[in-house]
C-alpha cells in the first residue's frame, strides 16, 4: 500500500526529486541556538496553537511575553464567535481528512459513529482542545499536550463537562518530554504547530518517536507560496483581521516538498496530502487538491521492512 502510492508520482513528490532552489536548512546543518532564533510571534492567533518546540528547555524572555499574550485570551478558546472563530470553522474540514485517512489506515469502519475506538491519539499543541474533543467523541483515547498551562486548564474544564470527552488526558508538556518518557501513540496529530517551532526537523523527529509501529502522523501547516503570503499574511492579518498582525512569519512556512522531506528524514512516509480552501461566499472551508495555502499531510511510520 505504501510503495504503490509513492510510485504513482504525486506532483509534490516529483518536485521533491528535483533540486529545489529554495531548499531549506535541514540538510544536517547544526541547528541554531534556540535562544538566538527570533521566536515566532504567536499572540493568541486562532489558526495555531502556541506550541514551542525547543531543543533545550531554556525559556527566553520573548517566549514569556508571548505565552502571556496567548494566555490572556485563552478564555475565548471555546467562544465560537470570538477570536478563534476561523479555527472553529476549519475544524470539521480537518476532522474529515483525519477521519478518512485514519479509518483507511487502521481499517476501521467509516460508517461507524465511533470509528476510533481503541486508538490512542495524541494532539500535539492542543490549545483549548478544539481538536481533541471531537476525536474523543469519535471513540479515541486522546492525550492533549500544549506548552501553555492556561490552555490546558481551559481544555480540561471544557472537556469535563461532557461525559464523552471527560476521559481526555491533558498535560502541559512538550513532545520532546514525552519522547523522553517513551510514550507511544497510534496516531500523532500536530495541526498548525510546525510553522511556530524553532526547529522543524527536530520537531518532526519527536513526532516520529511518539508514533508507534505502523502508526500514523498527521501534520498541517501553511505553504510558503505567493498565494499564502497574500492569503495568510496580507488578507488574514491585515485586511480581514482574522489573526493578530505578526501571528505568522511567512519565512517559517514550509512547502509541501520540504515537509515531506523532513518527515521522510524522521522515518515518516507521507501518503496523502490535501489542501483547505475557503469559499468566501458560503463562508465554509472544504478539502481540495489545492495545497497552495493551507494543507494537511498524512504519513505513516516507516519500518525497516516496508519500503
Amino acid at each position: 500500500m505504501a510503495s504503490s502510492k509513492l510510485l504513482s508520482q504525486p506532483r509534490w513528490h516529483r518536485l521533491l526529486r528535483r533540486n529545489l532552489p529554495n531548499a531549506r536548512l535541514f540538510s544536517g546543518l547544526p541547528t541554531q541556538h534556540p535562544g538566538s532564533v527570533p521566536e515566532p510571534q504567536n499572540h493568541g492567533e486562532p489558526k495555531s496553537k502556541n506550541k514551542f518546540k525547543t531543543a533545550s528547555s531554556t525559556p527566553s524572555s520573548l517566549k514569556e511575553a508571548e505565552l502571556a499574550k496567548f494566555a490572556a485570551i485563552s478564555d475565548t478558546w471555546w467562544d465560537s464567535e470570538g477570536p478563534f472563530k476561523p479555527l472553529h470553522n476549519m475544524n470539521p474540514t480537518r476532522l474529515a481528512f483525519i477521519r478518512s485517512t485514519l479509518c483507511r489506515h487502521f481499517r476501521k469502519d467509516p460508517l461507524s459513529a465511533r470509528p476510533f475506538e481503541g486508538l490512542r491519539i495524541i494532539d500535539v499543541g492542543c490549545g483549548g482542545g478544539i481538536l481533541s474533543e471531537p476525536l474523543a467523541r469519535m471513540g479515541a483515547i486522546v492525550t492533549g499536550i500544549d506548552a501553555v498551562e492556561k490552555n490546558i486548564r481551559i481544555a480540561r474544564l471544557h472537556a469535563n463537562m461532557d461525559p464523552t470527552t471527560s476521559n481526555i488526558e491533558y498535560c502541559c508538556t512538550t513532545a520532546e518530554k514525552l519522547v523522553d518518557e517513551q510514550r507511544k501513540f497510534d496516531a500523532v496529530i500536530a495541526l498548525e504547530v510546525i510553522e511556530h517551532v524553532a526547529d522543524s526537523a527536530e520537531f518532526c523527529k519527536s513526532l516520529s518517536a511518539l508514533t508507534a509501529h505502523e502508526g500514523a502522523t498527521v501534520v498541517s501547516t501553511l505553504n510558503r507560496s505567493m498565494r499564502s503570503y497574500a492569503a495568510a499574511i496580507v488578507a488574514a492579518e491585515y485586511l480581514l483581521h482574522w489573526l493578530p498582525k505578526g501571528t505568522h512569519q511567512w519565512s517559517s512556512f514550509l512547502t509541501p516538498e520540504e515537509l515531506t522531506m523532513i518527515l521522510k528524514r524522521a522515518s515518516i512516509n507521507v501518503k496523502e496530502m490535501a489542501g483547505f480552501v475557503f469559499n468566501p461566499i458560503t463562508g465554509r472551508w472544504s478539502l481540495s487538491d489545492d495545497i497552495s495555502v493551507n494543507y494537511i499531510a498524512f504519513g505513516t511510520k516507516e519500518t525497516n521492512n516496508e519500503e
Binding site: S80, S112, L135, L157, M161, L287
Partner: protein
Amino acid sequence: MVTVKRLALSRRCRQNCGHSNRIDSSEATHRFNQTFKSIEAKPNRSAKEKRAQQVRSSIPAMNRILATKAGSNVYRLRFPWRPFSNDAAPKLSSPTAGNPEKGSEAQQYDIAIVGGGMVGLALACSLASKPLTKHLNVAIVDSNPALGRKNFIKKDDLPDARPLHQDINAWRFVEQHRHAYFDKMQVWDYTGLSYAKYNARDADREVLGCVVENKVLLSSLLSHVQDMDFLKKIHPSRLTSMSILPNSSSSEVDSTSLMTALFTHGRLAKLELEDGSSLYAKLVVGADGGKSRVRELAGIRTTGWNYSQNAIICTVEHAVENHCAWQRFLPSGPLAVLPICDKFSNIVWTMTPKESSDFKSMTDDDFLKAVNHALYYGYGPHPTSGILGSSDLFSWLKGGISSSANDCFEIPPKVIKLASERMAFPLSLRHANDYASKRVVLIGDAAHTVHPLAGQGVNLGFGDASSLSSVISEGIAVGTDIGEVSLLKKYEADRKPANITMMAVLDGFQKAYSVDFGPLNILRAAAFHGAHHISPLKKSIISYASGEMRLPLFA
C-alpha cells in the same frame, strides 16, 4: 495518480462524513414527496378533538413548478396541525404535580423531537435509516394517543413495493391502506380561455402521483420507525416549558446528578412536560406545527401575514371512479378535487372568509350543488379544445410525446354525496426568522407555513427533515456536539433559500390568481395553453413535479 486520489479523498471524506451527497437526501425527499395526504374524514370527531389535520396534497409537484406559470395544479392543503391542541389534555394530575422533577426520573436523550406529526416522524425515520445516526437516543413528544399504540397496523406480506420510497422505505406500509394513484390531471380556470391536461404517459410514467391520507402516512412512518432497531421513546404529553442555559466553564462541581450538572453548564436542554415529567436532550427539534410552542419558548420571531382566504375541506363521493385530479381556478380561489380511493375524492376549496362560513353552514345538498356549479358552469364558460386555434403553431414543438395535448377538455365527474363534515380554516404565510438557535432547531410548519395553493407545505417539511438528518449525520461523523449552533446553521443555510423561494413563488401565484384583470387573464390563459401544448415543457413540469429532477439552484 495522487491527483485523482486526492479528489477521491475529498469525496470519500464527504461520504464518510455521513452521506452528505446531496442526491441521496433529495431523492428521499422526492420519493416521499410523491406521497399524498388527503383530508382525514372523521365525521364522528368530537369537538374536543377538532384538530385541523386536514392535509391534502397533490402531486409531488409543486416543488418544481417554479419554472412555469401554468403549473399550479392540485393543491395540498397543509393545515397548521397541532399535535397537542387537545383541549382535554391531562393536566398535572399526578401527586407530584407541584414538583415535576421529582415525579418521574428525568431521562437524557440525544434528540428530543417535539411534535410527532408527519415531519417529526419523517425526521425520526430518516435518522433511523442512516448508519451514523441510528444509534441515537430519540424522544418524541406528542400527546396524540395514536402514537402510543404499538403495531396498530398489521403488517401483511406485500408484493414488491413500488420503488417510490427507497430511502425511508415506509412506503410498504402505506400500500396496505387506503391510497389512490392517479395518472391524469386537468387544470383550468373560470375565464374559459384555456386549460392544461397532464397525463403520466407524457413523461413515460405510469402514474403522476398518489394521494395518501394523513393518518395513513403517520401510521406508516410510525410502523417503520418501530420496525427498525431504533432507540426511541414516545412521551404522550405536551411541552410546557423548555430551558437552555448559556455555556459556562465554571469549575464548580455540581453535587447533584450528572444531567443537572450538564444542564447547568449549558450542554443539555431541559424540557418539562404537562404530565409532570421532564427530560434532557442535547438537541430539541421543533416539529410542532404552525403555532409552534418550541419556537415560542426559544424566542424565535416570525414574519408573515394572513391571507384573506379560508379553505374548506371535505370528502365527497362520485358516481363513477375517478383517477384524475381536477383543479379549477375561480375568482376567489381555486377549487381542487383529488381522488383518494375508488369513488371518493377530497375537495379543497379556497375562498373568502365570508363565503367560507356560508358554505360551511349551508346544508349538505346546497353545498353539493354549489360544488357542482363551481366545477361546471359557474363563474364562466368551459374551455373548448383549441380555442386559441393555435395548435398548429405549436406543432413543431410536439414530439411524439405529447399525446395528451390532443386530449379534449374533459368534464369532471359529478359530485353526488358528501362523505365527511366540512372543515374550514384560515390561511396565512409565516416564516421563522431563524431556524436554529442554541440547542433548538425548527423544521416543517414550525419554521414556515405557506398557502396551500400548490400543496407544498409538507413537502418543504420533508425537505427540512431530510436536510437536518444529513447535517446531524455529518456532524456526528466529525465528532461535533449536535446541539452546536454552527452545525445547525448549516441546516438553515441549506434550507432557508429553498423555502423562501418556494414561499415567494406560492405567494406570487396566490396574488396572480386572485386578480380578475383582462390582460392578466389572457396571460394566464397563454401560460395554460403553453403548458398544454409544448410537450418538452409539459414533460419538464411533470418530471420536476414528481421529483425526478431538481432545479439546478437546489441541487
